[in-house]
């Protein structure tokens, strides 16, 4: 079982050992990069077909079923279509920026995978400040979206880009704030260290995952919503809202450049989902002692796939928000809730040393009394009750 758990690490060491000594660091890195690109490239192809199939199921239709058995070869057909399509660049476009934007969006996202621990001893680089690196890399995508929208010289593109940037900046705040309690609990910014801090079981059978604490549950909720918004997923996909903005900053992109944007968006979703698994769902740890014989990367994959399915489900279920609702939701609900969650986490950690009977229950009660009223009040009253009809300043 030990071998199966470490099979990828052992393979990598073996392959590296075949190379001449001078080239070994380079070969070792290249192997990891190739593995990451292969796994998540395949993951991207599989997710597109799965998403379309699931959406079809939930909307009472078939979904793609023409190419290959059960339509499973649809991603290959899509890829060939994208590659052979004409690449149209608008006459007025800023050619250089128009060309660079898809690259600037996709390239940094790959870097984000470098710090995620996919299994025991399975992270490409172990940075002391791994989570900081993750968020720093993610911030580059705002500039890429701006480049795409602005260089197209099209008002829909620019509007879409402006919306996207406003949305990304707004939702980055709750995303980071929701991860701070986890850092406090682990006492480290390094992602493998955070996973290590979630090992073991409370009371002998409840895994010590962060999501199974009151502050962790609230933080995970905020994190999920913010993650969906950061990766422009439905119900937060209004930067590309095709019914109002044609396709937002993607309007003037076709062929392989469009495919690159598509890839970048899905990879961003994968990266932030992987981060969510690492921060809240115990990373690669098994949920129970008697399940620990399964390999660690299998557990990471299972949690990862479950979360991806949750995002697809959300897309099939929820209608798109309006821009003002979207921004109000971030600033008036998620950010205050994340701040209160921070206080609750501090109370939870401070009371960790309590020894008397019913200590765990008292701590739960303490955190719940901090969080539940805040959730209700923020959701019901301070947000101004049910959303009012929009008042237009210029269109009336």
């Amino acid at each position: 079982m030990k071998t199966l758990d470490q099979i990828f690490v052992l393979t990598q060491h073996w392959l590296t050992g075949l190379a001449p000594a001078a080239l070994q660091p380079l070969v070792s890195m290249l192997l990891i990069i190739a593995a990451l690109m292969a796994v998540f490239g395949t993951c991207f192809a599989l997710t597109t077909i799965l998403e379309r199939k699931t959406l079809g199921r939930m909307q009472n239709r078939y979904g793609p079923n023409r190419v290959g058995p059960f339509g499973l070869l649809q991603p290959a057909a899509d890829g060939i279509k994208m590659l052979t399509k004409e690449d149209i660049v608008p006459e007025a476009a800023d050619k250089a920026l128009h060309f660079l934007a898809p690259l600037a969006l996709t390239a940094p996202v790959w870097l984000a995978f470098a710090v995620l621990p996919f299994g025991r001893n399975m992270s490409a680089i172990e940075l002391d400040a791994g989570i900081l690196f993750f968020f720093a890399i993610g911030s580059a995508s705002e500039l890429a979206v701006f480049m795409a929208g602005w260089s197209s010289q099209n008002k829909y593109s620019l509007l879409g880009a402006m919306r996207a940037i406003a949305q990304m900046i707004s939702y980055e705040v709750p995303l980071v704030l929701a991860s701070v309690p986890v850092l406090m609990a682990a006492g480290s910014l390094s992602l493998p260290e955070i996973v290590r801090a979630q090992s073991g079981y409370a009371l002998g059978w409840i895994p010590r995952w962060n999501v199974l604490t009151p502050w962790g549950a609230a933080g995970f909720g905020v994190f999920l919503v913010a993650a969906a918004a950061e990766s422009n997923r439905c119900p937060f996909d209004l930067p590309e809202g095709e019914s109002e903005l044609i396709a937002g900053f993607l309007t003037e992109y076709s062929g392989f450049k469009y495919a690159l944007f598509f890839l970048g968006e899905y990879l961003g979703l994968f990266a932030v989902t992987g981060l969510g698994v690492t921060l809240f769902l115990g990373g690669w740890h098994a949920p129970a002692t008697w399940l620990e014989w399964l390999p660690s990367w299998g557990w990471f994959g299972a949690k990862f796939s479950a979360l991806i399915f949750l995002f697809i489900w959300m897309r099939a279920t929820l209608p798109r928000l309006r821009l003002d609702q979207l921004l109000n939701f971030a600033w008036k609900f998620l950010v205050p809730l994340a701040l209160i969650d921070l206080v609750a986490a501090a109370a939870w950690l401070k009371s960790g040393g309590w020894q008397f009977a019913w200590a765990l229950e008292t701590r739960w009660l303490l955190c719940a009394t901090l969080l539940a009223p805040a959730y209700v009040c923020l959701g019901r009253h301070w947000r101004g009750g049910t959303p009012k009809p929009r008042r237009y300043h210029y269109a009336q």
Partner: protein, 190 residues
């Protein structure tokens, strides 16, 4: 040796982007090049083993300041960009003087500091944990002061930017009087 090559590459990258940010004609290109220069600076920090400063530089400057600059450019852009070379402004000597003064103000303490003597210091890497501990113990008061200052600035910006609603709207129950529907004068003549 390898470190030196990396340093010169990163330095060339940073300086090239900085020069482009000053000389390009299109303000948006300038802003994007400035973001590139910020990223180059972050790489320099990382090369010096200052992980926290490097990532913070990326997060704050590339992620936030560059976007702020872009928004400022878009919101204040008057006429369309004219093609041609950038003509230096008439008062360029004032800018040059200010730049020289700033450079002198930064260079003087560095050149006068005793750390220059005795060669390069040893590996003075500051782990993130130590930075956090220092910020929370020794430098907690300055940290709090900066926090208060920034919060004040944020609130001030919101107050300045807030649209002042006309008083009449409140009294008329949310609808401005000139849009009150009357028979024969529909509220929304379109």
């Amino acid at each position: 040796m390898r470190n030196e090559i990396a340093f010169y590459l990163v330095a060339a990258f940073t300086v090239a982007f900085a020069i482009a940010a000053m000389t390009l004609r299109d303000l948006v290109h300038c802003a994007l090049c400035a973001a590139g220069a910020f990223a180059g600076l972050a790489m320099l920090y990382l090369q010096l083993d200052a992980e926290f400063v490097g990532f913070a530089q990326l997060l704050v400057y590339v992620g936030a300041i560059a976007v702020l600059i872009l928004f400022a450019v878009l919101l204040t852009r008057g006429d369309e960009v004219r093609p041609g070379r950038a003509a230096p402004a008439r008062s360029w000597w004032m800018g040059a003087g200010a730049a020289a003064l700033v450079l002198a103000a930064i260079a003087a303490p560095i050149l006068l500091s005793p750390s220059l003597e005795g060669g390069a210091p040893g590996a003075a890497s500051a782990p993130v944990r130590r930075i956090g501990e220092e910020l929370m113990t020794r430098y907690v008061l300055p940290l709090e002061l900066v926090g208060v200052l920034l919060t004040g600035a944020l609130l001030g910006a919101v107050v300045i930017a807030m649209r002042e609603e006309p008083r009449t709207e409140d009294k008329a129950g949310g609808i401005p009087p000139r849009f009150t529907p009357t028979p024969g004068n529909p509220a929304n003549p379109r």
